[in-house]
Amino acid sequence: MTLLYLISKLCGVANRRQVTFAGLVVLLLVFPVLSGKALAMDGLAEYEVKSAFLYNFAKFVEWGAQGTAGDQQELGLCILGKDPFGGGMDAVKGRPVKNRRLVVKQINGIDEMGQCQILFISSSEKGRLSEILAAVGRSPVLTVSDIKNFAQTGGVIGFVTIDERIRFDINQAAAERADLQISSQLLKLARSVVQ
């Protein structure tokens, strides 16, 4: 059978052309279905995805020497303001990342930011955003928020929802200020990169 197949291949039997159209049709039908999985997100599911994103961001970001100086066993993910995740963080809590353990903390003020490598700023803090960002300043912290135009305002990563899909913008300048190196893999996925 193999031989027959090879011979037919060698002879260039043009069965392929016939299947090309069918293949394309199948592809067109299947493609929206593939991406559709990410579309149907709402409410709690949205924050489940966001929590997973937060966890995965850690894998594609390199902190400078200062940023990882603290506890070597833990990687702190701090939530500033009202916790929108509900129980969503439980899935990632304690999971390993970069040979550390992800620790999720709820903080109420910027002064509690000591052991945080990732700072999620809840949309409840929308009004105080410039104040918070100023306070973070050049600290080696990856700031993430779903406040509108977060990255454009000076945050490092800002969630955006496009076509019901969760995506993100990255502010490269802000990342550099915080002495963070963001993997090209992550940059490639960003909706837009602010220089």
Binding site: M1, T2, Y5, L6, K9, L10, R16, R17, V19, T20, A22, G23, V26, L27, V30, F31, V33, L34, S35, G36, K37, A38, V49, A52, F53, N56, K59, F60, P96, V97, K98, R167, F168, S183, Q185, L186, K188, L189
Partner: protein, 516 residues
């Protein structure tokens, strides 16, 4: 002897040269073919391995590039990354499968039916992996031998030490195959060149063996065809063939020496017969002369003895008379007849040796003419004995005219001489064409020759059967010598009381037109 295999029978009649070439080329060809085949198989396996390794590298590179897309659930980005595989025309498709067996992204090359890749569970939405097919693909990918319509490579996608998915790549076997075909083609070309070189070499080198053998064969042919024992085979080297040539030459030298010796002895014997018969005549003449001298002496002595007889008594006179009249006369008569007989015998021997020495004048002869001439001279006898003669048209032969006349004359004369008395004679002369010779038959219905006497008839001074006719037993001896001088043979078939057939062959013109 062992029965020949069909293989041997095929080559049996080839020349040594052809055999040697065949042996060399067959051996070379087999070795080249085996080596080429082995090399191609080896290369096919290693090319396959290399292609699979390249697939693994490509899969790993893609894996690294899509890990973020998987982490952030961005299948569009992953699909774009996979689409980069388009650059490799041999890749039929690639799938990224997440740990929950859903198909996260896929690339299917233009013209490939996704179903042929087996991995998708038919009808699943969102597309899922057919676990059973996946296990089979996994087995195929792990196998170092599996060689069906595609080559599969499965690699895990790892992010930060965690397995987040699997990438499956399908590649056409064509890539391997086309490279193998190219390689095989190149090797075939090299093999052909090698084979040609082998042919050139062997066609040169085979003469090492075939040349001496050919030389030897030529020498043997020359010896057997031309009976030329002076030829010598060329000794080409100090090997077995050289030894064979030396041995052959030694044998030829011995034969040549013996041949010359025999010729010398033969010559000597002929000369001896001639000289002996010639020289024996001289004393015979003396004996003849002196015996007649003795006779006349006795006759002269007669009157004297008659006078003396008067002095003798009656009894003594009678005794003397008896001696003189009977004993001496009788003795002299015996001497004379013996001398005459011996003279005849010696004359015959002389004739025979002359026949053996006489130069033959070979010319084309019309045998019909010769036979007719002889029959004409025997016409009286033929008429007297009431013989019916039948003669076919006889062919032309190349022979000595006198010798042929003697042969035919003797045979016809014999046939008439030994007819059965009281029966009408029948005589026929026929001929048949043999290989390079004409066979003539002289057939009679005479008294025939007994089987026991058959060997005698051709012998010198020997006669067979009833001695009722005059003869010296010389005729057939002459005939035999003459036929033999012509390189022919004479023989006789006979049945006592029925008749005899004497047959002999003489060389004939091979082709009357003169073309060989």
């Amino acid at each position: 002897m062992l029965p020949l295999s069909p293989f041997h029978r095929l080559f049996r009649d080839w020349t040594i040269r052809q055999k040697l070439m065949a042996i060399t080329l067959l051996t070379c060809g087999t070795v080249l073919f085996a080596a080429t085949l082995a090399f191609v198989v080896h290369e096919a396996i290693s090319i396959r391995r290399e292609v699979k390794r390249n697939l693994a590298i490509q899969a790993d590179v893609i894996g690294v590039n899509v890990s973020s897309a998987i982490a952030f659930n961005d299948s569009r980005s992953a699909t774009e990354t996979l689409a980069g595989l388009r650059a490799n025309p041999y890749i039929m498709g690639a799938y990224i499968v997440t740990s929950d067996s859903t198909i996260f992204a896929r690339y299917v090359a233009k013209g490939v039916n996704p179903a042929s890749l087996r991995i998708e569970k038919p009808g699943s939405d969102p597309p899922e992996v057919d676990r059973q097919a996946f296990a089979e693909i996994q087995a195929d990918a792990d196998s170092p031998w599996e060689w069906d319509n595609d080559l599969e490579q499965i690699r895990e996608i790892v992010l930060d030490g965690q397995e987040i998915g699997t990438i499956v790549i399908f590649s056409e076997t064509m890539e391997v195959l086309s490279r193998v075909v190219w390689l095989a083609g190149a090797l075939l070309l090299i093999s052909l060149v090698g084979f040609y070189l082998a042919y050139l070499l062997s066609s040169r080198l085979q003469s090492l063996i075939s040349h001496p053998v050919q030389m030897l064969a030529n020498a043997v042919k020359e010896v057997t065809a031309a009976k030329n024992y002076a030829v010598r085979a060329e000794v080409t080297g100090n090997d077995e063939l050289g030894a064979l040539a030396i041995g052959f030459n030694g044998m030829l030298a011995t034969i040549q020496a013996r041949d010359e010796e025999l010729q010398d002895i033969n010559e000597e014997i002929r000369n001896f017969a001639y000289i002996v018969s010639h020289d024996l005549r001289a004393p015979l003449v003396s004996i003849k002369g002196f015996s007649s001298e003795l006779d006349s002496s006795i006759k002269e002595m007669q009157p004297l003895l008659n006078k003396c007889a008067a002095a003798l008594d009656e009894k003594e006179r009678k005794q003397l008379e008896l001696i003189l009249q009977e004993d001496i006369g009788e003795a002299l008569g015996f001497i004379a007849s013996s001398v005459n007989r011996m003279d005849g015998l010696i004359g015959n021997i002389l004739n025979l040796s002359r026949l053996g020495r006489k130069e033959l004048k070979l010319e084309p002869l019309n045998m019909t003419e010769i036979a007719s001439g002889i029959l004409a001279s025997l016409a009286h006898q033929i008429e007297q004995k009431r013989v019916t003669v039948t003669m076919a048209e006889l062919p032309e032969v190349i022979a000595d005219r006198v010798a042929m006349e003697q042969i035919m004359g003797n045979l016809l004369d014999n046939a008439l001489k030994y007819l059965e008395p009281g029966r009408d004679g029948e005589l026929s002369i026929t001929a048949e064409q043999g290989d390079n010779a004409v066979i003539l038959h002289v057939c009679d219905n005479g008294r025939g020759i007994a089987q026991d006497d058959m060997h005698k008839v051709f012998e010198l001074f020997r006669r067979a059967g009833k001695q009722d006719t005059k003869g010296e037993g010389m005729g057939l001896a002459y005939v035999k010598t003459l036929v033999r001088r012509h390189g022919g043979r004479i023989w006789c078939d006979s049945q006592p009381g029925v008749g005899s057939t004497f047959s002999f062959n003489v060389p004939a013109p091979v082709n009357p037109s003169g073309c060989r």
